[in-house]
């Protein structure tokens, strides 16, 4: 990984509600950790209508998740990757895919369940998880109040947290 490698975050360009076929790709690689979401996969395969080769990898345990890098590394150019997983597993797969040379354009990610969101405290440089819809929080590390801004840093892996003094904001 290099410093400007893409990272998975809640507003990543790879996030989709529904998988779509990219016509110029030769192969669809679907990595799913939950087989019960078969409907989403079937929809994609129906759209492809047999025009592209496909490979479906279903991950059922931590051991196979750890080996996902091998699967990704043996893919050839022209492979479109579809990730279907809860947040933590999706992050692992996404990171391995970037490491293997996939670009964001070659990945679609569908998160099962809640996405995770992180804020980077600009007072003490601590990164912490926040609720998806939170606009303000308290830094666990330095206890300062943070307004969560809309800007994300790949380097810091979180949204900007502007420190503020709530007492003075109320006074204004």
């Amino acid at each position: 990984m290099v410093y400007n490698s893409p990272v998975l975050f809640d507003k990543s360009a790879t996030m989709v509600e529904k998988f779509t076929v990219r016509q110029k790709r030769r192969k669809l690689l679907i990595i799913s950790t939950l087989p019960r979401e078969a409907g989403l996969i079937q929809q994609l395969l129906d759209e492809s209508n047999g025009q592209q080769q496909y490979e479906l990898i279903e991950i059922h345990d931590e051991f196979s998740l750890k080996n996902i890098g091998d699967v990704l590394n043996r893919q050839k150019m022209g492979t479109q990757l579809y990730i279907l997983a809860p947040w933590d597993e999706a992050v692992t797969i996404f990171t391995e895919a970037i490491e293997a040379g996939f670009s964001e354009d070659e990945i679609q990610t569908h998160i099962l369940g809640e996405k995770k969101r992180y804020v980077y405290c600009m007072k003490c440089y601590h990164l912490q998880e926040v609720e998806v819809d939170e606009t303000d929080t308290i830094c666990y590390h330095c206890q300062i109040s943070l307004e969560i801004g809309p800007f994300f840093s790949r380097e810091r892996k979180g949204y900007i947290g502007y420190p503020y003094n709530p007492a003075l904001v109320i006074a204004n």
Binding site: N4, Y125, F151, S153, R154, I160, V169, N172
Partner: protein
């Protein structure tokens, strides 16, 4: 403390705006004339500014200087350019001795010298740009050109205006300017348009410039790290104290294409003028009053001076009247 005392050296930002016209965002880059290509300036405030800059770098190294380990060669290239410019602009203040790769840079104003093996980072305690940059009051940002974009890979900043080397490290030009809420007349985001312009036009030996401006309320430096401190002070401005508290903050920006690394170096010369001092140049006072009276709210919000623009304009209105009465 750092207010410009020599107004002839102050980069007044509205020179190019026609009388009676107002300020709006645009691509206002200008190619530098040959006699203006050197960015090294020694103002009457030089020593105070250097002292302040070094103090910030010592107290907050993580906040004020950021780089990637792979940038050493690029930093040496920039350091060489700055030392060369310093000697050319002010041979009475700076000297560079080269004995093979053993170089010594003399700062005669501060009576200091830096000796090092050029290109050998192990011969110095700081990184090359951090070391040489401490002899210049300007801030430096090195944007590396890759994939049709510019990435921030080195920055030394002591006069931040809603900027932080720590936060902005590694970001693309467009990401850094993400907060800019404006589009060009053709609907293209302004940051994207300016980036394309820089990539196409800033060539080796052909530097460009523009002047950015802002208002600051009793602060020299507003970065994200100190938002809790300076945020509330913006509400303390009144029409009575705006002359003292509010300063026109001007950032004269220079853009150099580095011939070896192909990166673009941004040099930022920040100067301040207190609102009260505009009275020394009535034409500046009248124009600044006119421009600030008509600033659109989105622009004031983006620049961060919405909380004190009204009392500032009120102060300037009164000052215009006072100066005009004195002239009669």
């Amino acid at each position: 403390m750092f207010e410009s005392t020599n107004l002839d050296l102050f980069p007044y930002p509205f020179h190019n705006i026609k009388e009676g016209s107002n300020y709006r965002y645009s691509n206002d880059l200008r190619k530098l004339d040959r006699d203006r290509m050197n960015c090294v300036r020694v103002t009457p405030e030089y020593e105070k500014q250097i002292k302040r800059k070094r103090q910030l770098l010592i107290e907050q190294p993580n906040v004020r200087f950021q780089s990637y380990p792979h940038t050493m060669e690029m930093q040496w290239e920039v350091a060489e350019m700055l030392m060369t410019m310093a000697v050319e602009a002010h041979p009475e203040h700076f000297k560079l001795e080269k004995n093979g790769s053993q170089w010594t840079f003399h700062n005669l104003i501060l009576n200091e010298k830096e000796s090092f093996i050029f290109g050998d980072a192990s011969s110095i305690e700081l990184e090359p740009l951090d070391l040489i940059g401490r002899h210049f009051a300007t801030d430096f940002v090195l944007m590396v050109n890759r994939d049709d974009n510019l990435y921030l890979e080195v920055a030394q900043e002591s006069y931040a205006a809603l900027f932080s080397p720590h936060w902005n490290k590694g970001m693309t030009f467009d990401e850094i300017h993400g907060p800019v809420p404006f589009v060009s007349r053709t609907g293209v985001p302004l940051a994207e348009k300016v980036r394309q312009f820089l990539l196409t036009n800033v060539l080796p030996g052909e530097p460009w410039t523009r002047i950015n401006w802002n208002l600051m309320a009793n602060r020299w430096d507003v970065n994200y790290e100190t938002h809790d401190t300076w945020g509330p002070t913006r509400y303390l401005v009144t029409p009575e104290n705006a002359g003292e508290l509010v300063r026109l903050r001007v950032e004269e920006q220079f853009f150099y294409r580095m011939p070896r690394s192909n990166a673009i170096l941004f040099v930022l010369n920040t100067q301040f003028l207190a609102m009260k001092d505009l009275a020394q140049r009535p034409e500046w006072l009248n124009q600044t009053y006119s421009i600030l009276s008509d600033i659109p709210k989105p622009m004031a919000d983006y620049k961060g001076f919405t909380p004190f623009i009204e009392p500032t304009v009120e102060y300037l209105k009164n000052l215009v009247q006072k100066v005009s009465l004195q002239a009669k």
